[in-house]
Symmetry: C2
Subunit: 489 residues, 2 copies
């Protein structure tokens, strides 16, 4: 199934701006504020990340050095001999205006300020400084990303801002007012199989803002699914119009930071955001068909669901399969609390299950709990049986990596077991046409995490949606099913 | 502060039973159903765990062998030459009655059935079998734990049922109808510093049930704090009376499994529990001053809070301190959502903070977000300032182990940093008298988990309460503060 069913004619938006392509696909990047001792600094991290990613033209800028990290280092942006389209800045705010003159002289296309301490500080002179920066950018014909953010991650152009993120391009775009979320989401999403067209951290949104980014992503052929972390918007009416248009063509999931009084205050101090009330934001999501989520983990979960659950379930019925009475009870509670259903299996279906599963220590009526499911044969048999039940719209298979699950002697992470298990999951999925989701519960000890990572890698590699708890699977699927049903698919 | 302030005269309960001491402190243990090939079996796991824990008299029973795992193996319980007080059973349900005759002949004090497939299977003949087992136990003068559970963990008597759990005794008791929770809670609680008097998995509660266990724990001098996972109770009125008495002397936190229709059904299939409605259970917790939690993780969190937060906060005011704008916004939202407050710091306090913290990239008005808090000096200064503010009742210091937090080059897990940080936390705690909680956000990658575990070990070792996210800290503290305020402390 492709999410392109959402596609259709894109209506003309007001005051279409020049494309951000020039921002996302720079030919050369200057990094201002790199120093050899800055092992933990952003500028150094970006320089090394760009090198590792194989970005072709990286220019460190620092008047004190002629070479840094094996690269020629320049005293200023304008002294760089090659083409510089994008400039990454990590120098004190006080030097921002002089730097922008330097950038204008060089004819750059965009300047990203990691530097913070602008309007979000609450000082009027810092807000004024921001306005002066914007004037210089407009006069100089270039764009500003930020300030107070970690900027751009564009796998297709090898423009990266950290290590450990997936360099293979993919259909997910993420925009974020928080630098932390902008870095963590591609990292953790990447572990769970998400691949990105762009991830943009835009901080104070002085110039490029959420509306312009969303409009771009709507038209971006590389982007199919959109996630966002937003603390506040400048123009609520405009945002509503943009979101309405974008969400009617591509699925959009938003985590709104600052939903309480203290949260709003923190958001103002973080990115100078003037946010509207939660109720207004919720109404806006409902009206536009946007999926609203409650935190950063849930945003990853919903993106994973949109990207990997095939077909998207047409109803709320869940079969829960896996080992453990406690988890089975919890699973039922978690599913029903968020509005999914765990339909009782008919006596006929239960009899069928009993052919394959042992009586002792098992539950058959849904959840299906059996100690023997670690055997791929029993797993396949159970998944086949429940996947064919008409009021089951999705199957969640859960595995714990807690000590109790390791009585099996680490069998979970053995290559043979994982191959058979993957084959079983694939076969059951193909034969029944019912989506299979995996809830892998990571432990917080070294043995557990090693097993967990090995299993996750294989299942993600096989194209299955992986969640980190039954609760997380439940919450994400409740959101996606509600969204899907509302769209009338 | 000691929780003994809850102590007082314990009123006489009806039909006081003989103490369970004989069950918890056996002189010899037989394990029935061990086999050399059973690498993943419960009986083998228990035998090896007892050996590793140094339990003095372990007797494997299997007529096919004369020695197993370096221990003499016996054909039956009655053929064991030494004293056998406790018997662990993992053989098919069909052999249960014959085994109990064997146990009666030997004069044992208690029999724990790991074996499942009894009343919880839904078959009448299996329920009848259970009743026959109970008759045999009563006639034989011994007790039954379970069936369908993992039994007893009593560090003081070295009676263990798994590996990796803390063998040092401590003040926390846990009773659980789920074997999974009974094994995971001591393991994960142990990592976070909890030490146990007893952890009892009692499954179908055929003989020893939640009421008897709670009555025992009330009088148990080794137990100060009680946690429970309960799916259902047999006699609601009796349970109410017992809980009222117990909870008025020692703090009790309960996770009720089966709070939805599907969850109730699963609970019935899991431990044959006939559970009452959620509303009834909630009312019962309110009435008795019991802390009710929503899941197994939250149960650990509340036990950690009860065990380590000193003093228990007298109000809801939280200061949140740590690095990251996104986390600061989320923290504020999470705290206020659950009923805690994040009071704005006065201009005077903010000015004081600005002496120690940089302007750029910081938020001062609470949460206190600053990129430099990884420096122990700045950390101490900030904790001192906020800890002295009158409407701040607790300080939550948060650290992420996400990739972005590792720009510092793994500094978090260096021994020097950790020592200075621990000293700073201790000093701030002593000087201000305000409790300090740590929210350490584990990553799900190997580098992150390694850093996380190193940091957790040091802070736990220093006696600080450690939570695994700001949300978890918020939820647990909201519960504990409400409980504490209700008790009028």
């Amino acid at each position: 199934m492709s999410l392109s069913r959402l596609s259709g004619k894109i209506s003309v938006m007001e005051k279409a701006k020049p494309s951000l392509d020039e921002v996302f696909f720079p030919r050369g990047v200057a990094v201002v504020g790199v120093s050899p001792s800055g092992g933990g600094s952003f500028a150094t991290g970006v320089t090394l990340s760009l090198k590792e990613a194989g970005f072709p033209a990286i220019y460190p800028v620092n008047p004190k050095y002629t070479e840094l990290f094996g690269l020629p280092c320049y005293p200023s942006v304008r002294s760089i001999p090659g083409v510089v389209d994008h400039v990454v800045v990590s120098i004190p705010a006080e030097s921002a205006l002089a730097l922008l003159d330097d950038c204008a002289a060089k004819g750059v296309k965009s300047v990203h300020f990691f530097t913070a301490g602008f309007s979000e500080s609450g000082y009027e002179d810092r807000a004024e400084l921001e306005r002066a920066m914007l004037s210089k950018a407009k006069a100089g014909g270039f764009r500003i990303i930020g300030p107070n953010c970690i900027g751009l991650f564009v796998p297709r152009s090898r423009l990266v801002n950290s290590m450990g993120v997936p360099l293979e391009p993919g259909p997910v775009a993420f925009i974020s007012q928080s630098g932390g979320h902008a870095q963590n989401l591609p990292f953790y999403g990447g572990q769970r199989g998400l691949r990105f067209s762009k991830s943009v951290s835009y901080g104070n949104a002085l110039d490029v803002d959420e509306c312009e980014l969303l409009e771009y992503l709507l038209r971006d052929p590389d982007t199919e699914i959109i996630g966002a972390y937003i603390e506040g918007v400048k123009d609520g009416r405009h945002f509503l119009r943009v979101l309405e248009e974008v969400a009617s063509h591509k699925p959009v999931a938003i985590y709104k930071g600052g939903t309480t009084e203290a949260g709003l205050r923190a958001a103002h101090g973080h990115t100078a955001s003037l946010t509207s009330s939660v109720a207004v934001f919720e109404a806006l999501c409902r009206q536009t068909g946007t999926i609203q989520v409650d935190d950063a983990d849930e945003l990853v979960d919903v993106l994973v669901a949109l990207n990997f659950v095939r077909p998207l379930p047409q109803g709320t019925g869940v079969a829960v399969v896996g080992a453990g009475g406690g988890p089975s009870v919890s699973a039922s509670d978690e599913m029903e609390k968020v509005g999914l259903s765990v339909p009782r299996l008919s006596p006929e279906v239960q009899s069928e299950l009993k052919k394959y599963l042992p009586l002792a220590g098992s539950i058959f009526n849904n959840p299906v709990d059996t100690p023997n499911l670690a055997s791929p044969e029993a797993m396949l048999a159970a998944l086949r049986v429940v996947g064919r039940v008409p009021d089951i719209h999705m199957v969640v298979y859960h595995m714990g990596f807690h000590p109790i699950s390791r009585w099996g002697g680490g069998r979970f992470s053995s290559a043979d077991f994982l191959k058979s298990a993957t084959d079983a999951l694939r076969q059951a999925h193909e034969e029944t046409g019912t989506p299979i989701l995996l809830a892998l519960n990571p432990a917080t000890d070294l043995n557990g995490i090693n097993d967990f990572l090995a299993v996750q890698e294989v299942f993600v590699g096989a194209g299955f949606p992986v969640f980190h708890s039954l609760r997380q699977a439940a919450r994400a699927m409740a959101r996606v099913v509600a969204w899907n049903q509302k769209l009338g698919h």
